[in-house]
């Protein structure tokens, strides 16, 4: 379980990183926190010719605020969000999500960009940032482009990036003070990837009432309008569960019921 040999580069600018990737002819691989890439290298699931460590690019670890949103540098760590070392565009929701990712040692290094690029269906950011409708800022040979996170993940562990592209930032709309959030995940063990998860964002000022079901076998499932279940009543709760079970996400009753129950728990957190 040792990686095959690779070259290592630690560029200090986005442009240099793009150039290194473009020149590597598909043999380059971006490394951020290394928390997922490290094991993949060791297991030789990834055998890049060149590793481009982007943590030397100062701007990627910082945060930029604009009129109605916040752009998080791709290398902002889970721990930085957890500790409120960066502003929280979702009124504390992001910090709460971050605090539940893995273990502190992993959070110290793991990054938002790395997690989204890795696109594990059970990862926390993929589901929760889809719920807040985050936008990906992507740098490449032809400049920067933007894509909605909901469109970014194409399949488990696959995202819409070409070989010389990488994520530079994640933009999240600033939520109104009245916004409400619900998030529930079920893990077999504290810190392990989830078996079932659901995130809910209700922001009346922005006309948002969205839920996302994660930890599926593939892309997160977006339920664009769940206002029919709110405010919650016992009947609506049952109806909500039945609706999710009816989606047959896993195609297996026990797992489908878990998804429904996770959704119900998240709904119960959304205060009227």
């Amino acid at each position: 379980m040792k990686p095959s040999a690779y070259r290592y580069a630690r560029p200090s600018s986005v442009a240099e990183a793009v150039r290194l990737l473009a020149d590597s002819d598909g043999g380059g691989k971006v490394m951020a926190g290394g928390q997922s890439l490290g094991p993949m290298l060791n297991l030789r699931l990834a055998q890049p010719e060149l590793v481009v460590d982007i943590t030397g690019i100062g701007e990627l670890a910082s945060v930029r605020e604009d009129k109605d949103g916040i752009v998080y540098g791709a290398c902002v760590t889970h721990a930085a969000v957890e500790d409120n070392r960066v502003p929280d565009a979702a009124n504390g929701f992001l910090a709460r999500v971050a605090a539940g990712i893995a273990y502190r040692a992993v959070r110290n290094r793991g990054t938002m960009g790395g997690s989204l690029a890795h696109a594990d269906p059970s990862a926390d950011w993929m589901t929760t940032l889809t719920a807040v409708d985050a936008e990906m800022l992507i740098a490449g040979a032809t400049g920067e482009r933007r894509v909605a996170l909901a469109e970014f993940m194409t399949a488990p562990f696959s995202v819409a990036l070409d070989e010389a592209e990488f994520i530079v930032g994640i933009r999240i709309r600033r939520h109104s003070p009245a916004a409400r959030f619900g998030y529930f995940k079920f893990c077999r063990k504290r810190g392990e990837f989830a078996e079932a998860m659901a995130a809910i964002v209700v922001d009346p000022a922005a006309g948002v009432s969205r839920a996302v079901i994660g930890a599926t076998d593939s892309r997160p499932i977006v339920l664009p309008d769940i206002s029919a279940y709110l405010p919650l009543s016992p009947e609506r709760l049952e109806a909500a569960k039945a609706m999710v079970e009816g989606l047959g996400i896993a195609g297996e009753p026990i797992k489908d019921a878990m998804h429904a129950n996770a959704f119900a728990r998240a709904l119960q957190q959304v205060k009227p």
């Binding site: 379980m1 040792k2 077999r188 063990k189 078996e195 026990i254 878990m258």
Partner: protein, 790 residues
Amino acid sequence: MAAGEQKAGKGIGVRLPRKEDERFMRGRGSYVGDIKMPGLTDVAFLRSPLAHGRIVSVTAPDELAGRFFTAADIAASVKPIRAVSGLPGFKPSSQPALADGKVRFTGELVAMCLGRTRAEAEDAVAQVVAEIEPLPPLADFAVAEQPDAICVHEEWSDNIYLETRIEKGDRSRIDGAAIEVEREIRLSRQCMVPLEGKGTIAWWDTRLDQLVVYTSTQLPHMMRTGLAECLGLEERQVHVVAPDVGGGFGFKCVLQPEELCVAWLALTRKKPFRWIEDRREHLVAAANTREHHYRIKAFADAEGRLLGIEADVAVDVGAYSVWPFSACLESAQIASILPGPYQMPFYACRTRSVATNKPPFMPYRGVARTGVCFALELMIDAIARQAGLEPADVRLKNLVLPEQMPFTNITGKLFDSGDYPESVRRAVETIDLASFRARQREGSDDGRLLGIGFATYCEQAAHGTTVYAAWGIPMVPGFEQATARVTPDGGLELRIGVHSHGQGMETSMAQVANQVLGIDTDRINVVHGDTALTPYSTGTWGSRSMVMAGGAVSRACEIIRERALAIGAHLLQTGKDEVELVGGRIQGQGGSVGFADIAQAWYKSPETLPADVAPEGLEVTAGYKPMVDSGTFSYATHAAVVAVDPDFGSVEILDYVVVEDGGTLVNPLIVDGQIIGGVAQGIGTALYEESPYSADGQPLASTFVDYIIPGPCEVPDIRIVHMETPSPFTAHGIKGVGEGGAIAPPAAIANAVNDALRPLGAEVAMTPVTPHRLLAAIAAGRNGRQPVQS
């Protein structure tokens, strides 16, 4: 002593902090992987991608010449591992160091490659091409038992290493029993996952004409024998050292083919070679254990008094019989210990050790007892439910009573001492059963179901010659020896043949010596783990070290004491009968001398000693065997309170109590640590750990992503209550306790889960109790079916 009272001094019974923690807690331990040598070559293995197949060819590009080896290179000079059992009907297996002709499990060694680094060796492995013709894989014992199944070992007629039958007592007693319960109970295959995996470094010492093998083992002397036998060396030519070892749990009791390969390289190339097991190798190809399958019936009268047990047990032993414990240690134990700590008039058991295309089954902390306790204790609760009784009361009705001790049970086990029912009563009291039942009736406010579970066991430990001779394995333990040497400055060196890898023996052995000699434990060194430095021993296993090596240390120190008294008396110019040893000093009428004075006289100024002084001096090797060598019986009752979330099938342990009696505790602090560690592993068995295999014999948990072990959040505070009934048969009344913690948790936790599930008419009977299994049980309960265990 009253509860909570601290014993003074540094002798037996003192909660002395561990001497070894200074290095371990600061990351200064010295493990195989820490050893650096010039010219060290790394070894990596190509492992079989198939569970069962015939090897057509194994080839590598020419550039790997000299760095690539297969069975063709080594089979002529390395004998296969053959662990034979003397039990009648046993079929031995031959495990080649590198697969020869056939592969019998996914992960079996097919070829090895060398590199200056492990990565380079793995690069070479990636270039090797193995053409293997697939054979039908036997991924489950039930498939392997089919009459038309292909044989794992083609020279056999079926896939059964050994079948045993035992029937004791009066069968007519179960006729018309008021209560008859039958269950299918399973323990999944799992791994042992010590912090440190296996690792081996070997080189040739030209000066001493010896193969030197540093290996992560619990039994260096046995490894010396095993390596010498397989490599065709004389034992004088093999020197085995077990440096710091980061947990063994039984895995490191076994001679591994990787050890043979590395040793062969060193022997033939006269240079240093190393292999360090990585976690994937460990999870996929090593340390497999626990997989028992029971069909079991229990019979009781209407009051819940046991009338008999009838069981049919299969152990899925995998592809090979491990050396030295063999493929049948587990099943032989099951048959003899299934009646547990209970009295019953009838008992019958059939066992089969079944060969499958999975890694060899190894003994794991608790050995057969964890499975037996799980099966039996689930049955006790099933009886209680049927009888409408408190499960704890059913235990009290059936346990062997203190006034019956020493007691010979239905399979001839001699229980040495103790008050088994008292352990149940104290567990009931400590966990507060009555309040719990009230709380359970009220129900929880978060929708979770509450349950309580108990499990009682007794644990034969430090089993000696007679027991192992009856099990017929290649290694029968006899006497244990220890060397004690007073150093010229009055300190003490102890040399023991057992190995300490987490048990704190560098401290507890020193405490035994302190008890006898009064020398401060800070001035006592315990040397272990080196065949050149320590007396021969079968090593650390079976919770035997404290009883056996502790007994030997005690004997050696008693002899030292007599000799020191003689010299001390002379120095004090008085008779030997006029002096005594108090607080580490020889006291006479006119004054006292310490060990430094005695050592000074003995080693440096012998001219001051009388002419007739015993020439053996201040260095002694003494042997020890308990008065009765059939083993000590520790026992315990574990009690668990759990909350089950019926939405997700999760189990939270809210409270966990252990009431245990390990005889005289040499160091209760260390014993607590052993119990907590064991319970943590037991929680792993109960709820998390599983090495599943696909139908074609592929391991489905090859990293910690899929193989889940409990972490700090999953292991609650464990409340320990000690009882101390000394064994009448051993030095200081010590009993073996190292394994106990890992025996009862699966049973106690599953019983608690079943107590919680009772309103739903659901029951679990398989480890680990995963969310999926639990939810499937609930669904089956809803449909009024018995759950299917899978």
